[in-house]
Amino acid sequence: MTATLEVTDLRKQFAIGRPAIDGVSFGVPAGEIVVLLGPSGCGKTTTLRCVAGLEHPTSGEISIAGKVVSSPERGILVPPRLRDLGMVFQSYAVWPHMTVRQNVVYPLKHRKLSRADARRKVDEALELVGLSEYAERPVVALSGGQMQRVALARSIVYRPQLLLLDEPLSNLDAKLRLRLRDDLRVILKQTGMTALYVTHDQAEAVVLGDRIGVMRDGRLLQMDTPDAIYNRPADLFVANFTGATNELAGTLVSRNGQFGTVDFGEGRRGEVALLHPLGPDEKVRIALRPENITIGPHNGANIFSARVLDRRYQGTQTAYGIELFGRRLEVVELGTAARHQVGVETQVSLPKECCWAYRDTGPTAYE
């Protein structure tokens, strides 16, 4: 009932422009939720639509439960309705001319099922998404969040072997998005379905995904557990996209296992974690989270002198702009009190395990 998904060297070239998907490969084991994360235009939705069969890939292979459903080289293209998938769309795509029950029962009508069985399954699905009392209402009388629950019920009512979700929460308001996000993971895990989820929201990706694949310009940069994505990003882009927005540049002086010493210029040296295989004298760039920088006197390594440029009080936290090695860095300090004055020369400490060094491959444009 729940199946594996295997995507191999997928490519999609539209009539004009660079490829929308440029050689993406990944696998989803049965029962796992994989989230494709990336900025808009990175190819994540196109990948999902290729898996659904709504978009036809240029090359590569897609197989579901070991059965090849799409392989242009071999002339295989199974139409969407025969792939036994469920899909939740960004725009809900609930049919406004039907009631909640009519929407949810629709997929069952195209499967051999007795009327009583169909009714029971619809009730189960509505129960699961918490809409039992709304079954007979016209969908247009529901709120956005409820419509999305109808769409979810419709896509899981027939227990498809694979569930695809295309930014299902992005049309909802912020508060509802948080609640439905948590509910969604519970529901998905209850059904035990394999799911492929597409979003541009990192918070959503972290909460929902068993694994996260970060995409950019049609390529899959890293696919790993949320923990690994956040603590060992594969490159500068992933680091930046997942929140390590500060950047320093320097030259590697020596290495010592997983760590190394970097010269930031004018003889200032510091310890960093090496996330790429790097050798001495290589130019490196260092990514650093704003919340991992500590302002104020501190013991240990990587203590530097910096100046506070500005301060933005945000209630439960305070954001500072500081100048370090001639660059501007962002710092976030938790707490409801703002402790540092603008213009003050002070010490900052950068924990070495939070300074991720990558090979310097020239300037990178983010977003």
């Binding site: 659904a52 709504l54 049919w95 629709y106 195209h110």
Partner: protein, 589 residues
């Protein structure tokens, strides 16, 4: 919003000089209402009066005595009226059915499939809108008459034992259906284009086949568009005179429009009965128009999510050549065949064609019919009259529509709602009824408008008022309000601002609307029928005369003359309106 609106109203008034402006504004509104009353309300009231009396307006003048509903009730009880009403409903109902099937099919082909040359099919799908109904009727009479019809002749050559007879209810339904399919097409194709494609994708993912998706999701979703296109085509068919006049006459198949005309041609003319039947036609039309507005203003299912949809196109595989073929067949049936029939009939000395070689025998062809129609002094006079009526209608109607549109949309004067309502009223009145109403309004007043070119022009202005106001309004609604307000701030008065700012900017759109009005006036038949005299003969009526005279060659020749003239005019209007589109692009961006 309201506050802003009323403040603008004040600006508007103070721009024309405070208290003086207020008086001016109410004078202006009274003037417009008086004109509209004269053009629309007075003829309708007279029509009502006519239906409720039994006096002859020509002999007795207009009298308010003898007012009773007996005349009306007699008409209702008349079996001929019932038969005409029944025929009308069958013809329009059947025609609408065909129109819906054809229109829906082509909108699906054009918007949702990968059929080759879609742009070409889209253009072909709206082409019949430009064909004058009478010319279409004449062409199909030449093609489909039971004895000499070209289709039957061709069947005979090929040795087939088939016969078609277009002088019948079936012929009427068929010709109605194919010529009014564009109304359904226009509504449904835009609804399909605006539909969120993920609604259909969701059905496909759910396991529905393309066919099941079409009937369980796509068509139910665009149902409001289908219904309103359907109602509109029905409404238009109700008011058409030319097609049933040509195809129904040989077998005495009467619909309401042809029956009304027959009544006024009786001797003595039954003007009262005609008025009563006209009112029946108007009531039916009015109900349908009301229904259509209800459907249109009801909740639309078409979801506009604010993002641009990539149009979903279904890969038909080899079947796409079949759908392309359907497009070609449609073009053949509505344009190519009728045009060829007209050409053959117009240039051939005798309509009898023995065999294929005779069809291509150059000796059989000559300009004799053209010589004969242009030898008739009435022909040139009718062309001259049509152009004159067209110009009067375009200039006066255009100016009036501009004044009305501007007053409704850009001012806050009291009473502009009334202006809006009265100027929209003719939407629900078929052209033929306008004709009967004007007849009643003026025939009993000696030395009045009856018998002049002006009665035709005024009837046309009233009849096309709603469309003209609408199309003219879009041309100046594109001009940003602030451009006008800037001129007011600079010290220009309202009229000065219109003259120096609004008109120059809206000129391409205004020109296009006026040209369209000119074209509509030239091809109008229904209302002209009751209002022409031998001095004010117009082209469309003369064409009908030629047809009823029984000479198909002359009829076809004159049809061609009209078609060419209209083609040139519509091409010109199209050219002008493209200029308008460019102008509006330039203004907004």
């Amino acid at each position: 919003m309201d506050g802003l609106a009323s403040r603008r109203g004040e600006v508007m008034l103070s721009a024309s000089g405070g208290g003086r402006g207020r008086v001016g504004a109410s004078l202006w509104v009274s003037l417009l209402l008086a004109i509209l009353g004269f053009l629309v309300i007075y003829p309708i009231l007279m029509l009502l009066l006519g239906a409720l009396t039994d006096t002859n307006p020509v002999v007795d003048g207009i009298q308010l005595s003898h007012l009773s509903v007996t005349n009306f009730l007699t008409v209702l009880a008349n079996p001929n009226v019932a038969e005409a009403l029944f025929n009308t409903l069958i013809a329009c109902g059947g025609g609408t059915l065909i129109a819906v099937v054809v229109g829906l099919l082509f909108s699906w082909i054009v918007v949702r499939t990968n059929t080759p040359f879609k742009g070409f099919i889209a253009a072909a799908s709206i082409l019949p809108l430009f064909a004058p109904p009478l010319v279409a009727g004449v062409a199909w009479a030449i093609l489909g008459s039971p004895k000499t019809g070209l289709i039957n002749t061709m069947f005979k050559w090929v040795g087939l034992d088939w016969r078609v007879d277009f002088y019948s209810m079936w012929g009427l339904v068929f010709v109605f259906g194919i010529y009014y399919a564009p109304y359904v097409y226009m509504f449904t194709s835009s609804a399909l284009r605006n539909m969120d494609p993920s609604l259909e994708e969701a059905a496909e993912i759910s396991g529905a086949s393309a066919f099941a998706t079409l009937f369980t999701v796509t068509f139910p979703l665009i149902m409001p568009a289908i219904v309103s296109g359907m109602l509109l085509s029905f409404i238009v068919m109700l008011g058409i005179y030319g097609i049933p006049a040509v195809l129904g006459a040989p077998t005495n198949l009467a619909v309401l429009t042809t029956y009304i005309f027959k009544l006024t041609n009786w001797s003595p003319p039954l003007y009262n009965t005609a008025a009563a039947v006209a009112i029946i036609l108007m009531v039916v039309t009015g109900l349908l128009v009301f229904l259509q507005h209800k459907v249109l203003s009801g909740r639309s299912y078409t979801t506009v999510a604010g993002k641009a949809f990539r149009p979903r196109s279904l890969d038909l595989g080899r079947w796409r050549w079949f759908t392309f073929g359907l497009g070609i067949v449609y073009l053949l049936v509505v344009v190519v065949l009728p045009l060829l029939a007209l050409i053959v009939a117009a240039f051939r000395k005798f309509m009898f064609i023995r065999d294929i070689s005779s069809l291509f025998d150059a000796r059989q062809y000559s300009l004799v019919h053209f010589h004969s129609i242009f030898d008739n002094p009435l022909t040139m006079r009718s062309i001259y009259n049509s152009v004159e009526v067209g110009i009067i209608t375009a200039v006066v109607g255009g100016a009036l529509a501009f004044a009305i549109g501007y007053t409704i949309h850009r001012t806050q004067v009291m009473g502009r709602r009334w202006i809006d309502v009265i100027s929209t009223l003719p939407v629900a009145i078929p052209g033929l009824v306008v004709g009967v109403a004007y007849l009643w309004a003026w025939i009993g007043i000696p030395g009045g408008l009856y018998g002049t070119i002006w009665i035709l022009a005024l009837a046309f202005i009233a009849r096309f008022m709603p469309d003209t106001v609408k199309s003219l309004s879009t041309s100046f609604l594109q001009i940003h309000r602030e451009l006008e307000e800037a001129a007011w701030v600079c010290g220009k008065g309202v009229l000065g601002t219109i003259r120096t700012i609004v008109l120059p900017l809206a000129r391409p759109g205004v020109m296009a609307s006026m040209t369209l009005l000119f074209v509509l006036a030239i091809r109008e038949l229904g209302s002209s029928l009751f209002l022409y005299t031998s001095n004010t003969m117009v082209m469309s009526v003369l064409l009908l005369d030629y047809y009823e005279g029984g000479n198909l060659g002359k009829t076809a020749a004159f049809s061609l003359v009209q078609t060419v003239l209209l083609g040139v005019l519509i091409g010109g209007a199209n050219y002008l309106s493209r200029g308008a589109a460019q102008g509006s692009v330039a203004r907004t961006g």
